[in-house]
Symmetry: C2
Subunit: 207 residues, 2 copies
């Protein structure tokens, strides 16, 4: 997926093929957010007037690049989870035994299709923490890029959450569902306001 | 730019090269939003239970695909505007005549670097109008993709606005600046609440 041309990724996203879809788009938006935070660090390191934040920017860059690699890989995880679920849905359901085996496979598929976007949401939250430092200390000439980055991360986090909410109603394991939703809601409660705080910081530094 | 592999676009976004940056990212996020709205239409057309909205979905698809093509092209427009501005900044400024010529070129470059993201914001707004109908009538099985689409469009619209706000303080033509900011603020006032309304519609249809 990562090696296809950009226009082809967009064409495949638009097509009737079910993947890539919202889950893959969330991962790529998160990766774009991380890339923009990396760009701000790259354009702050070595610049006159930013000597005092150079070490901090190098540490930010290492973090945002590691998180970007994870988010880019999640496009493939999303396709894998979708295919696993589709394979389960297509299993035979003639006999009671087949029905039972299929039910287990579908449930396992739904759980995986929930874990992948939850992981995407967690990784976006980690980039948002880096973005906060980027907006505070990054080069003023490219500070709007930190703003665009955090907006991409906000959209990615909320889109990943939608992909969790899409699957949880079908999962017959209340403990799993409760645990996933508690974790996701804690992320949303903490990090969505933080994205707006980072955006406000960017706007205030733009003068 | 469109023909480079997806991972390379992300690498270039993250790099110290100034383009692609937040402006190009805004255009690509807008294109991703349009692609997801197209996907919902593609996965609604011809599906059982959605016969009554088939004509509407075909019209949505034509609109979102045309707007997606425009947004994808804007990545190149953003690079072009940046290069024009950099060329102007690098012009000689030894004599008074050179200074005057350079000033005019810089001002023309700044105006172009403002028009491109304003156009991106306008195009995102047009896709948001389509997204509203998509969220209301699209296939319930893929309704979270309409949600991810409108979140991408929201981030794209706000990121494009940041790119306008970055340039306007340096433009010495108050009439141009007032006109651009009035148009942009009108778009933000109308369409940002609409993205939240579309998101709320998606959530309500997810049950």
């Amino acid at each position: 997926m990562q090696t296809i041309p950009l226009y082809q990724f967009l064409d495949e996203l638009a097509s009737a093929a079910p993947t890539p879809g919202g889950g893959g788009a969330a991962a790529i938006m998160g990766a774009m957010g991380a890339a923009l935070i990396s760009m701000v660090a790259n354009l702050t390191i070595g610049k006159k007037g930013y000597e005092l934040v150079e070490a901090e920017m190098k540490s930010q860059l290492a973090e945002s690049e590691a998180l970007r690699a994870q988010l880019t890989d999640m496009v493939a995880d999303d396709v894998g989870a979708f295919n696993q679920l589709m394979t389960a849905y297509r299993m035979p359901k003639e006999t009671d035994e087949q029905k039972a085996v299929r039910h287990e496979a579908v449930q396992a598929g739904l759980k995986q299709a929930t874990r992948v976007p939850l992981n995407c949401a967690k990784t976006c939250a980690a980039v948002i923490r880096v973005a906060q430092r980027s907006a505070e200390h990054g080069n003023l000439n490219v500070i709007s890029d930190a703003g665009a980055g955090v907006l991409a991360l906000q959209a990615a986090l909320r889109s990943a959450a939608l992909n969790v909410y899409m699957n949880t109603p079908f999962i017959k394991d209340p403990e799993f569902v409760t645990s996933v939703l508690e974790e996701l809601n804690a992320l949303m409660t903490e990090y969505l306001p933080q994205t707006e705080a980072v955006y406000a910081k960017v706007r205030s530094r733009m003068g």
